[in-house]
Structure formats: structure tokens, C-alpha cells
Symmetry: C2
Subunit: 589 residues, 2 copies
């Protein structure tokens, strides 16, 4: 069974749960985002993902990308070029970009939903246009008018693509260590020299030009991360000259083999400063933050594809009898979907995916509100939520994307381990999402180190207030006690962090990863209660989609009974503090 | 850094913790297993694993096995043939086999330790001799004298190898469904016809002959699993004739690419019955049970290799500063091993590996006692423990092997995802261990469905009694309260299972996986307390190996503080019962 976009559930979350069809068209500039328009776009996006991108997923993995050292060029897998062309010509690269540069000006939320479908269908292929968003956002925020006019229209149309060149062989997480240099030239440009690694789409055969956004240091740069500047370095200059930015080779990776992960050598390449000198990290975070949210969606997308694959298998594969006695006595055996342990693995996927979808779409909606709402207060509130939830969406959905793919593989037994089925590729492809755009450990440090304390803890207070208000407004909401129990644990952990992590940063570092997970499980519990409440209303109002809404009630029950209990041990783990991590010496490890 | 056998820790567990150097030579027939002999063997085994097998791990993965459809033959990766030859010529295939057939008659425990080292070094290569053990055990237990004399000597010497042919395309877990047939022939042999899949080493170029043990049905067989018989089907008959058992192709897999996973077509192949007609399942369980223990060791072995790789990286890679301030101010950055979150991932590996090693070696020692002790009571007690712990060793150590490899990959960031490092291969290779020889879900059902209730729950009662006795004997043992807390939760869960799982087998099925994990975490906590106690004694007695023993104390602390708390949520999950798994309909999933 091939991938089918879960349109009904996407609509449930966007419209019925989150009122996206009310909120989005009410934002200035987003008046076109009516339910009708959004539905039409989602239907088109689903077709593209299902019929054009998904069929290239397996072949792209087997064929991979090829590097030619003679020409320093990269050949992407067969079919990628045509699929990318269709993607950009259909307007998907321009979706949420500003109208003045040829974009459609639609809400970012629609990008989020498209990203989920694209990454379910073909993560490797989806990464090529994905990185362009970051470049576009950085240019919009920090580029001069000239740079904007030169580069934005073709980046937005998809004729050109963008890259983010941050990592170097000796530094990834700690960008203060970068060595790439930018020497000022007489004409106002810079000569950029250095080596960057893990550059997605650094070289490819999909677009006419490739626009690199490169972190480098000016000659007078102060040390560390305060001395980083951002430069734009195109593969071809506007006069057609080939710039001296060359791909030196491809990484050989565990997964996403259809995505060209390049070593890039900048050999005095001509570039221009984006934003102010030494303020490159700031611009980079603009690229990174939207990228992080999108990577969370990649995790969700792969989990959905894995769920569909393993569900199809479980409905079809006959093996042994139900523990309650034969369910289909005329058959040789029952389908394995009758077994509680198989259902455990299916429901873990379903509950995490649908709950994660609610969390991710909610965060995306807040992003649109943060960018576009008329009132400053509304924008600030929404931005608080985006800042707080972005590392959680990124880390939790990519961890769970990988776990869900693994649960899917596990329930398929030996079949899942063979390349006759797509699921082993989902496991391999999803593995990188826990690492790139900041490892999930870095996301957790971002949460406890930056986001929690920001503005006196305003964001987390708003989050707790939102959950409290929900309980007050809906005293009979399903599973409210479970949610309250989890919230109490999260509050206890937050208090512990305030008391211990402020004075001793290693305490915060020790608690970070379990705290992020506790936060995510609690947030998702809140959304599951809300989804169950929404489903109850629909059933009470006589909806004919009885299976769809009852499934929400049952899945909410599963989430509370089988997944949320993890919050208990996570709190214990957090409160145990740092000692058991730090007392062992390096020699003793 | 390449793999180095953890000999010091293996000795600590075998001798200091478990008194293997007292217990083993006291068993009739094992008098040779003195500490001196065992040390010498371990040192030799370590050399073979480190110098001969480990260097072929990466190349074996990249090259894989090649199938030639013309000759129906399989070529294993370059170097495998020579390494296998050295392995068998050095006596490793004969280690624990009976002296009368050319074996060395040493304890099985030594096999266990060798298996760990071999699988750390090269899982794919280690699987070829690994499967022969099962064939040897089945022949010893059920073969006629003629079959034993014909096949055992060369299987034991390693000149020939054995396979286990169970799975068919439509059945893996449920062997009652097999279709392979065995027709009696006039000469007392049988013509075996059918297709078997996922046959490890079904065809290869390492040995002169391949001896297949094949499950098949006699013409008069009753339906289901009571109609299965076991046959021995050699590739070459004793007169040199090529038998009609052919490899039809190889599986393309996510990992263990150096291991030939074959489709085997039996085309009226000549075979002989092993044991009684229709009693093949019994013989198969003899093969399976020892194989299951060994698969647990594979998980442990890969975890150890992953730990060594990621530890080396963490000691070397400089990135950012310690949260407590620069530790090496003269360097560009501190090594990442200073970070609490990196230590969390390292210690999770270390605590699980060393605790798992204790659990696995303990179970192996019990296996030797069960086979060889003089008193029937002692044998029965030991066998109870083996029966109870085998599914736990298999499932827990393979789940954790995969998780540890993933933690190792994670802390290595983007590097871990590339094939420049061996760790992505460890993740791929270890993935299958959670599936083969019975998926880990099946192990959990074996535990709750067969092992717990056997003989009125005698085994589990003995297990609890052992832990209680330990507490009484060592009231001041480190972390005794933590162990008691976990034991109380395990007892509560066991009681819940007795009350609910007996009358409603779906309740047992719903609880099985979390129950097995709760059991494993509790058992490992007991061993960590014992290891810390042993280390304390050694330090009190003035040992000069201060780092080694202090590391045990610190790692025990970590285990109790950061891993054991999972038992809390596992109990909650178990007590939540089956409803949230079973109430959703198939259509609603």
C-alpha cells in the first residue's frame, strides 16, 4: 500500500480542533486563506505527494546521488529533477512567500501541512526546496533591498535554490569555532574561503543556480560566536560567471541517500554581506527556527508513512490465533491486528502522530499569528508560544518519528528488516532528523536554558495558564484528571529547574532531555483531551463519521493509559539531579 | 579506535561477582574450566575478535554477500572464509561440545563470553558458526546414534556448518502453518519439498558441507503445530552427491549484510527424521532456547562496540564549553564528555551493558549448572532460572543493544550518521536482533504465558526468594532500597498478572511487553547492587584498581537514579489493562 495523505485528520486538526479556518483568514494579508482555498491546496498537495514524490522514494534511496569529481557536479536520483520542477511550477515553493517578490502570501501553516505530506512521501526530495525557505527568510529579515531584488524572486519561484552553510569539519554545535573567512574586496563584495560540510543541496542538478548562505568571519572579527557574519554566495553570479564555490564530494550516509549532502569548498568565492558585520548568528537563528519547526514535521511525516505501512501489514498478515479464541475460524489464522501487543505498537504510532500533529499545527498557527496579527499583544503572546514550543516540536516529533518507524518495523517482523518493504528506509531516513538543525540534546538545552527563563518565564506561565483555563472552561472534558496529573508533574519539574538550574547550569543540563520529553508528553495530553472533547461534541451532534470520531475517543484513552504514565518516571529522573552524571571521572567512563 | 574486548569487566562479572571460577570447575566434566584456563581462552578469543574479525566488519557490510543464480551459490565478503577457518581451527566451534564427538567439553558459559566478543567485532561473521550450535544441540538431544556419528564430528570441528530452517514465506511466528512436506522413501529416508526463507548461512562458501535442520510435515501429520517433524537435510550426501536443496536467492536487508540470508528451495531433497514423528517443535525449542540466549549476547556485544566508539568520540571531540565554565581554557573548546547530556547517553550505555552482562553471564552459568550439576535439585533450580530469564535476556539485551547503539550515534551528531564511523552500521545490524529467534513481543508472551505459570510459578518464586535472601544477607548493600522498591513494583505487577492474565489471556498479552521490561530492569538493579557491593569490598580491601571499582559505584548510582525509575511508569502501564488496546475497532485504526 502506498502513502495516502491523511487529509481528513489534517482537516480535523486545522479546522475543528484549532479553528484555523477562522484564525487564518482574519490575519491581515491572509484573507485568501479560506477553508475552500486551503482545502483545494491540500488536495493538490496530496496528489503531488502521493503520485509524484512517493513513487520516487525507494528508487531514490537505492540509486542515491552521484558525484562527478571531474566537473564537481552532482546528479540527483532519476526523476527528482522532473518532480522538483512540478513542485515549484505548481507554486509550492512560493506558497508563504511575500507577494511583492512573487510569493502567494498564504499562511505559513499551509507550508507546514505541505511539509508533512512531502516528507511522508519522500524526505530526500522534500529537503531540496525545504532549505530554500531558510535562505528566503534570512534575506527577507536581513538582506539589503538590492540583495532582495536580486535573489528573492527566483528563490521564491523555485528556479533557484538556497543552502545554509554553517557546519565545518571541526564544528557543528559550536559555531563560534568556524574558520571560514571573508575578505573585503574593493568593489564592496567579499572573497569567501573555507570548507563547509553537510551542506544539503550544496550542489545538485535541479535548479539553474544555487544560492549559498554562508557563515564566515571578517578579518577584524572578535573571537567566538560574536564574530560570525552571514554572506550570500551564489553558484553563478548575475552575469553568468561561475563563482568559485565548488562541491568537493558527497557524504555517504545511513539514510536520506537521495539528498545530496555536500562538502563545499569556497575558494575565494565572491559573496556579499547579509545584515550587519558580526551579527550573523542572529540571522542564522531566523533560518534555524523555522527550519527546526519544519524538521519536527519531517519526523511526523515519516511516522505517518510508517504507520500506514505497518497498519496495512497488520491487517493483512495472518499468524496465530487471537488470545480470545479464533476470530476467523474459516481462515488458517487470524490477522495479527487482533493481538494486544501488535495493537500496542500501532496505537503508539497513531496516538503520537495525531497528538503530535495537533501540537505541530498549533505551533504553526501561532507562528502566523506572531508574524501577522494586528495587535502587538497578540503577536507577542503567539511568539512566546512559538519560541517555547519550537524545540519541543523539533525534538519530540523527530524522536517519536524514529520510534514510531521502529515500532512499525518491529510489528512487521523479519519483513520489516528487508528492503522488500519501505519501512527500513523510514527508520534510516528518520534517524538524521534527531540530529540536524541542532541535535535534540541541543533543543532541550535551548528549552531549559533560553526559552524557560526568557522574560521572567512569561512563555511557560502563559502555557500553564492556557491549560488551566481549558480545565476551567471544560470541567467535564475527557481525561482532564490525567492532564492535570501530568501538568502537576511538569510544574514540579519546572519549579525544580528554577530552584536548581539557575544557580547551577549543569543541573539544567542534566535535566534538559527528560524535561523536554515531560513537557511534550504533557502538551500532547492536553491536545488529546481537546481532541476527545471535539470528537464527543461531533458525535453528540449526530455526525455520521462515527468511526472517525470514536477512534479519537479510543486513541485518547490509549494515550492516557499507556503513554502518559512515562511522565511519572521522567519527573523522578529529573529530581534525581546531576550527581549521578557528573561524579564519574572521564578515566572511569 | 577499534574494538577492544572488555576482558577486565568480563572477568569481574564471571569471577568476582558470580564466582564462576568456583562454580564451573566443580561441575562434573568441567574440571578443566579453571580460572587459568578460562583466562587463557578469553585472551585468545579477544585476539581473534579484535585482530581477525573486527577488521572485516565494515568491508563485509559494504561488500555484502553475492548470489550467483547460475550455480545457485553464495560468495561471502572478502576475508570471511579465512577468518572463519581461523575461528574453527582454533577450536571455537568445538568449545562446549561433547568430548566424545571431538568437542572440548568446556562450559557453555565460555561460549557466551566468546559470543559477546565475536558479535562486538563482527555480527555478520559471527552468525555463521552461531547457528551451528543449535543444530548440534538438536542432534545431541534427539538424533539417532547413526545421525550423531555421521554429522556431529564435522559440525563440531567447524568443517561443516548447520542451519535452522523454520520460517516460510507465509509463516514465521506461527509455525503450525508450515507447508514443507516430507514423503517417506523406501530406504528409510524422506523426500523433503518446500520453500524456507530467512535461512542464515543456507548457502555460503565457508564450509565443505551445510547441514540443514528442516521443519516439515509428514503425509499423515495432524494439523497445526502438533504435526511438525524435524529432518536433517545435508547439502552433500555422505557419498558426495549434491542433494536437491538449493539456495534460490538472498534477502536484501537493512543490516547484517555480510550474513547470507537465504531463500532455500528443497526439491525432493533427501533427508532423515530427527527424533519422533510430529515432535519436531520440541526439538526446535532445544535449538531455539540456546539460540535465544545467544541473541541476547549479540545485543550486548553490539552495545559494547557502540559504547567504545561513542566514548572515544566524546573524549576527543571539542565543542562548546562546560556549563560549569571552561575546563581546558587553553584549548579552543572543551571535550563534549564534560556535558551532562552527553554523559547521560554514555552512562545509559555503560550501565545497561555492564548490568546486562551480569544478567546474561548469570543465566549462562545457570545453564551449565542445569546441564551438569550432580544433584537433581540443583539442576532443577538452575533450569528454572534459565527458563525464566532466557526471554528476558533475549528481549531486554537486544532492545537495549539497539537503544545503546542509537544513543552512541546520537551523541556523535552528524558524524554518527555517516559511514565514516562504524556506529550507523551497529544501529542497522542490531535492529534484527530484536526480531529473529522470536520477536521480542513473542519473548514477552513466552515469559507471561509459559514461564511465569510453569509448575505453580516455581521459577518466579525462586527468583523473588533469591532477591529477598540477598537483602537479608546484605542489609547494608548499596542501593538496597531502590532494589526493594523495584521488586515491590514487580511483585505487584506479577500479582496483577496472576489475577487478570489467567482468566483473560488478552490481559496477559496486553501486559507482556511492559512486564518483561519491568522484570529486566528489576533484575539488573539487583545485579547492580551486588556489583557495587563487590566493588566496595574490593576497595575496602585496598585494591589498587581504584578507578575500576569506583566506576562501578558511580555507574550503580546512575542506574538507580536515571534508569530504574522507569519501573514506576511501567507498573502504571501494566495496571491500566487491555481496554485501551482492544476497544478500538480494526476499521478505526
Amino acid at each position: 500500500m502506498s502513502y495516502q495523505a491523511p487529509l481528513r485528520d489534517m482537516q480535523f486538526v486545522l479546522y475543528e480542533l484549532l479553528n484555523g479556518d477562522q484564525i487564518l483568514p482574519a490575519l491581515p494579508g491572509c484573507e485568501d486563506a479560506t477553508r475552500e482555498i486551503m482545502d483545494a491546496m491540500l488536495t493538490e498537495g496530496a496528489k503531488l505527494a502521493e503520485n509524484v514524490m512517493a513513487p520516487l522514494n525507494t528508487s531514490g534511496d537505492r540509486e542515491g546521488c552521484q558525484y562527478d569529481p571531474e566537473t564537481k557536479s552532482v546528479k540527483t536520483p532519476t526523476g527528482f529533477k522532473e518532480a522538483y520542477k512540478q513542485f515549484s511550477e505548481n507554486g509550492w515553493t512560493a506558497l508563504a512567500a511575500p507577494v511583492e517578490y512573487g510569493g502567494q502570501g498564504l499562511p505559513h501553516t499551509l507550508n507546514t501541512l505541505a511539509e508533512e505530506m512531502v516528507c511522508s512521501a519522500n524526505l530526500s526530495l522534500g529537503m531540496y526546496p525545504g532549505l530554500t525557505h531558510g535562505a528566503v527568510n534570512a534575506l527577507i529579515s536581513y538582506g539589503s533591498d538590492e540583495l532582495k531584488e536580486t535573489y528573492l524572486p527566483k528563490l521564491i519561484s523555485g528556479e533557484w535554490s538556497g543552502t545554509m552553510c554553517l557546519t565545518e569539519p571541526h564544528c557543528g554545535t559550536d559555531l563560534g569555532l568556524i574558520r571560514t573567512k571573508a575578505d573585503p574586496q574593493a568593489d564592496g563584495s567579499y572573497a569567501v574561503s573555507g570548507t563547509k560540510i553537510w551542506i544539503t543541496g550544496g550542489e545538485q542538478d535541479l535548479t539553474d543556480n544555487i544560492i549559498h548562505l554562508v557563515l564566515a568571519k571578517l578579518p577584524d572579527a572578535p573571537g567566538g560566536s560574536k564574530g560570525i557574519s552571514l554572506f550570500i554566495v551564489p553558484k553563478f553570479l548575475t552575469d553568468g560567471t561561475r563563482n568559485t564555490a565548488f562541491c568537493g564530494g558527497l557524504e555517504h550516509k545511513m539514510g536520506i541517500k537521495g539528498s545530496a549532502t555536500c562538502v563545499m569548498n569556497f575558494e575565494g568565492a565572491k559573496g556579499w554581506l547579509v545584515g550587519e558585520p558580526h551579527k550573523g548568528l542572529q540571522a542564522m537563528f531566523v533560518m534555524m527556527n523555522s527550519a527546526r519547526l519544519m524538521v519536527g514535521l519531517q519526523g511526523l511525516g515519516i511516522a505517518e508513512a510508517a504507520y500506514q505501512t505497518s497498519l496495512g501489514f497488520a491487517k493483512d498478515r495472518r499468524q496465530s490465533r487471537s488470545l480470545a479464541g479464533p476470530q476467523e475460524p474459516d481462515q488458517s489464522a487470524d490477522c495479527i491486528i487482533v493481538h494486544p501487543d501488535v495493537r500496542r505498537m500501532l496505537l503508539r504510532q497513531k496516538a503520537t502522530i495525531e497528538g503530535g500533529r495537533a501540537l505541530a499545527y498549533f505551533t504553526s498557527l501561532q507562528l502566523d499569528v506572531a508574524h501577522k496579527a494586528e495587535s502587538a499583544e497578540e503577536r507577542e503572546q503567539a511568539d512566546d508560544m512559538v519560541q517555547l514550543l519550537t524545540p519541543i516540536v523539533k525534538a519530540f516529533l523527530t524522536d517519536e518519528g524514529f520510534f514510531c518507524a521502529n515500532d512499525g518495523l518491529q510489528l512487521m517482523g523479519g519483513n520489516g528488516f528487508t528492503q522488500d518493504w519501505p519501512i527500513e528506509q523510514y527508520v534510516r531516513d528518520s534517524r538524521i532528523t534527531r540530529i540536524y538543525e541542532g541535535t535534540n540534546g541541543i533543543q532541550a538545552l535551548d528549552l531549559v536554558g533560553r526559552k524557560l527563563g526568557h522574560a521572567g518565564g512569561r512563555a511557560v506561565k502563559r502555557f500553564f495558564a492556557m491549560l488551566e483555563q481549558y480545565g476551567k472552561d471544560n470541567p467535564d472534558a475527557p481525561h482532564l484528571d490525567d492532564v492535570k496529573g501530568a501538568v502537576a508533574r511538569l510544574q514540579k519539574a519546572t519549579m525544580w529547574l528554577m530552584q536548581n538550574g539557575m544557580t547551577d547550569r549543569e543541573q539544567a543540563g542534566a535535566a534538559a532531555t527528560p524535561y523536554l520529553r515531560l513537557f511534550a508528553l504533557t502538551a500532547v495530553a492536553y491536545f488529546w483531551s481537546r481532541m476527545a472533547l471535539t470528537a464527543q461534541h461531533a458525535l453528540n451532534e449526530g455526525s455520521t463519521e462515527v468511526d472517525f470520531y470514536q477512534a479519537k475517543l479510543h486513541t485518547a484513552h490509549f494515550y492516557m493509559a499507556k503513554l502518559l504514565p512515562q511522565t511519572e518516571s521522567l519527573l523522578t529522573e529529573i529530581e534525581a539531579g546531576k550527581d549521578s552524571l557528573m561524579e564519574i571521572t572521564v578515566a572511569q567512563l
